[in-house]
Amino acid sequence: MFKKTFISLALTTAVSASAMAATEQDVQNAFHPYKNDVPAYQGLSAGMAINQDNVDQFKEIIDPAMYDFIKAGDTEIKVGETTSFDLNNSYVEATRKYMNDVSLGDNVGEIHGSVAGRPFPQEPSMDDPRAGEKLAWNFKYGYNWGDSAAIWPFYWTFRDMNSGKAERTLKFNFNFLNFTHRTQQTPVPAITPNPSNLFRATYLQVLEPFDVKNTQLLIQRFEDDLKRDNAYLYLGFQRRVRRLSTGQVTDAFLGSDIMIEDFEGYNGRISDNKWTYKGTRNMLLPMYNHNDMPLDADIHQDEDGYQMISFGGKGNCFQNVTWQLRKVYQLEGEPLDPNHPISKRQHFIDAQTFTIPRTVTYDRNGSIWKTFSIGQAHPDHHLPQNKGSGVSIDDSFSMIDMQAQHCTTGQFKGIIDPELTPESKMTVQNLRASGK
């Protein structure tokens, strides 16, 4: 009996290992899905608009929240051509190098052997009970802002969706830095010393308006996903650094419609959610060439001549950008904390870049609460210094609270330049020094 069980276990392990082994073809499929052809949908063509009149025809390729908006006449989608957003080759090479060393641990939030690159480049399978978790890891260790980046500056506008009134505009600087899983900017794959084994840090500083000027936030995420982030808040009027409890990361950040946990689509631990892979489909996503979009000449002017994405539609809550038909993984994240303010997020992940251009958030009662669009700009059609960076650039966002009929819109100047984000910027001391 014992022998039979052992053989059965050994066979299972062998089959499992075989199923998990990643191949060069997996890499090609993952990073170059549009090499040979691009997806198509009957009646859809670049240059057309999807509006109240024809949206039903395209319901299958639009997420449910966006469908509701278009159906109600709140906005329309302008369709662009599907283009390849090739990630930096260093990230692809790192994927090749380490992909067969990676395995999940016994518990959600545990991973082994992931040094750099996409941990699980294989196509997800509905038969794999942990496929959702693997997609979440692919996002976490994605090439989202590369090894480091800055958004200098970053405007958030609070808007009443019914009246269109802009209630408040915050101006920030944001910085991102990976301590580990680095592939392109030296040092690779990790910055040392790193005594607490940080994976990533996010830093932001409020520049305007006066009442929140010099508010700064530093989030340090650990390589150990089971450990909660360290978050520090500096309030300008107090000149002191305060530790944050995680209650604050699910709070409306500075009164916006965005939680800290919403940053970049999902900004929390893998282990905080139950992850479910809901399928692969072709869908329209807000991904575009920034320089070809109608831009907002008013909110920001600088010596580069850079202008930001403009907004329109109901309440000026929608980006004026083109959407393209792309391969999408649908991933559901259900918070394990019973006191969490949401019941789940439906993420629509771009399969090529593993960014999250669309997320629909449900309240505790299961009703759609918020919908998040992060416009992705191709780096070769953006600032000159971003050309060739291989970073899919977060370039605009709209977080709409559908229940409150309120939105927060974001306009970015994303810059891929390691000089703007030295390690010293990601320290507690920097909060004090910068806030003084």
Partner: protein, 538 residues
């Protein structure tokens, strides 16, 4: 260096401030002006006190600037400044209650009921330098403001309208670490405590602005200081490490407790010090010791702070002068022109702070502690005693989402217990050997944080006094903000024996020593107010 040098620095500071202003206004090159960032506000604060009427009609204009400079070999070189101009119209609009013509029936009238023991001491003279030149001479340099000084508190010999003006620069060292030097008139903030100060004692404080209730940011008195910070960053043990030195080269200034006749005179000390023995007897204060500028009299400190895992910490050491007055008894009535001299003794402080995020509680614990040697506390028989002191704060901060209260935003719950232990306590000290003040802040956010109600409660256990301050902030837009608040105090009825008035045999009195026992909350028990503040920011 001497007092002249400090005055010269103040004049230079005024020149630089005006220069930067002029450049930004286009009197110099456009390119320079474009590099200077300006922000600020104008504000009216109107407070009405129960039974008294208007207690504040403060109009403030504040501007902050920062200008980046180019420098070979140095990074992040900048000049930073904050300018403030204040006019408080309460002295013109409610001159019966406040100002040089304010009259009190007896000492402490605004704090306690009629007490026959106060017959020994006459009521304090409001604005002594307007009403009693001899007393003004005794108080030379301390609590001797003229009414105009109170009316326009930023415009004085110390050029306090320059709230801050300092130059800051970073030097990249070969080790990969950074040395930051900062010089000028500035605030240096230590510690993690709200409302009360344990380690945050480098800058003295102006309590005359609004007792203990204004943000410390607005009431710290900036000092000329040189700071050096060695930012070491992470190493194999610490996630962050920083060592800093601070040298306060300014001429010593004590905290401003408010001159008699001002609406906010903490502990009613201003009137006590402006009092005299009834019947034309000697003044309470004979002299205020002035500490000339000298290296010997400068104040300096060091701090090492860092991050270790889930813990942030600091270790602090400071040599400074006590910022609250110590009264030294000179002898019995009749022996001197006054009874006491005011000293500000030298103090050595050792302390530290630590905060820790508890994953299990999803909350942050804060601990701050300071041990001082050299402080002097008031006592009955000898006027004062030098004693070591231990002060500490335990704080607990948690964010709680309470959907039942109609918002999905988290409420902030912050509690603190501030403790004070007198190591060489004497029975004739009005301060208890151990005392605690507990504070609670509960703050909520509605309408995308544009509407924010909060309540602050503080309770002084020894004084059995409580302050309750509910308020609501409404941000109309990015520019306009309105704050409406109540500030209610209860308690402060403790008596303490004074030997000159029969001491314990008489069962204790309110005057003059009980003011120290009743503390800043208890002594302000008649200062219940409605407060309205309107601010336009730019």
């Amino acid at each position: 260096m001497s007092k002249t040098i400090i005055m010269t620095m103040n004049r230079v500071a005024a020149g630089v401030a005006m220069g930067v202003t002029a450049m930004s206004l286009g009197l110099s090159t456009t390119a320079v002006a474009a590099d200077t960032e300006w922000a600020g506000f104008v504000e009216n604060a109107t407070y009405v006190r129960d039974g008294v009427g208007l207690s504040k009609f403060r109009n403030t204009a504040q501007a902050e600037f920062s200008k980046q400079l180019e420098s070979d070999g140095w990074d992040n070189v900048s000049i930073n400044g904050t300018l403030r101009a204040t006019y408080d119209g309460v002295y013109d609009l409610n001159s019966d209650e406040f100002g040089k013509d304010a009259q009190a029936g007896y000492l402490g009238e605004n704090w306690h009921g009629q007490d026959t023991s106060t017959a020994i001491l006459a009521p304090g003279t409001p604005f002594p330098c307007e009403n009693d030149p001899a007393l003004c001479k005794n108080l030379d340099g301390y609590m001797d403001q003229s009414e105009d000084d109170a009316r326009y508190p930023d415009f004085n010999d110390q050029l306090d309208f320059i709230r801050e003006l300092y130059i800051s620069a970073d030097k990249q060292l070969e080790s990969g670490t950074v040395l930051n030097l900062s010089f000028g008139k500035q605030q240096v903030v230590w510690g993690k405590t709200d409302l009360f100060r344990v380690l945050d004692v480098i800058n003295p404080v102006d309590y005359s602005r609004h007792n203990i209730y204004d943000e410390l940011e607005d009431i710290r008195i900036p000092q000329w200081m040189l700071t050096a910070e060695w930012r070491m960053g992470p190493d194999k043990v610490f996630d962050d490490s920083n060592f800093s030195l601070v040298w306060n080269i300014d001429k010593f200034r004590p905290s401003n407790l408010g001159t008699c006749g001002q609406p906010y005179a903490i502990l009613d000390a201003g009137c006590f010090f402006a009092s005299r023995i009834n019947g034309g007897g000697p003044y309470v204060i004979n002299d205020v010791v002035d500490y000339d500028w000298s290296l010997r009299n400068s104040q300096f400190g060091a701090k090492w702070e860092g991050v270790y895992g889930d813990t942030t910490f600091s270790l602090n050491a400071l040599h400074y002068r006590q910022q609250l007055p110590s009264i030294h008894f000179l002898g019995g009535p009749g022996n001197n022109f006054g009874l006491f001299d005011i000293h500000f003794p030298e103090v050595n402080l050792l302390g530290g702070s630590i905060d820790y995020y508890s994953m299990d509680q999803d909350a942050v614990w804060r601990l701050e502690m300071a041990y001082t040697e050299g402080e002097e506390l008031a006592r009955d028989t000898d006027g004062y005693k030098k004693t070591d002191m231990l002060r500490y704060v335990i704080g607990f901060d948690k964010n709680i989402i309470i959907p039942e209260l109609g918002t999905s935003s988290a409420f902030l719950l912050s509690t603190q217990l501030f403790g004070e232990h007198i190591l060489d306590h004497e029975r004739d000290m009005p301060n208890k050997k151990d005392n605690w003040i507990a504070t609670l802040l509960f703050k909520g956010f509605y309408m995308n944080n544009r509407l924010s109600p909060q309540i602050i409660i503080a309770h002084d256990f020894a004084a059995e006094a409580t302050a309750i301050a509910p308020s609501i902030d409404y941000l109309i837009n990015d520019n306009w903000k309105v704050n409406a608040a109540f500030n209610i105090k209860e308690g402060g009825n403790k008596a303490f024996p004074w030997s000159a008035a029969g001491g314990a045999a008489a069962g204790g009195q309110t005057e003059p020593l009980a003011r120290f026992l009743n503390g800043p909350i208890g002594v302000a028990n008649q200062e219940d107010e409605f407060q309205l503040t309107v601010r336009y920011s730019f």
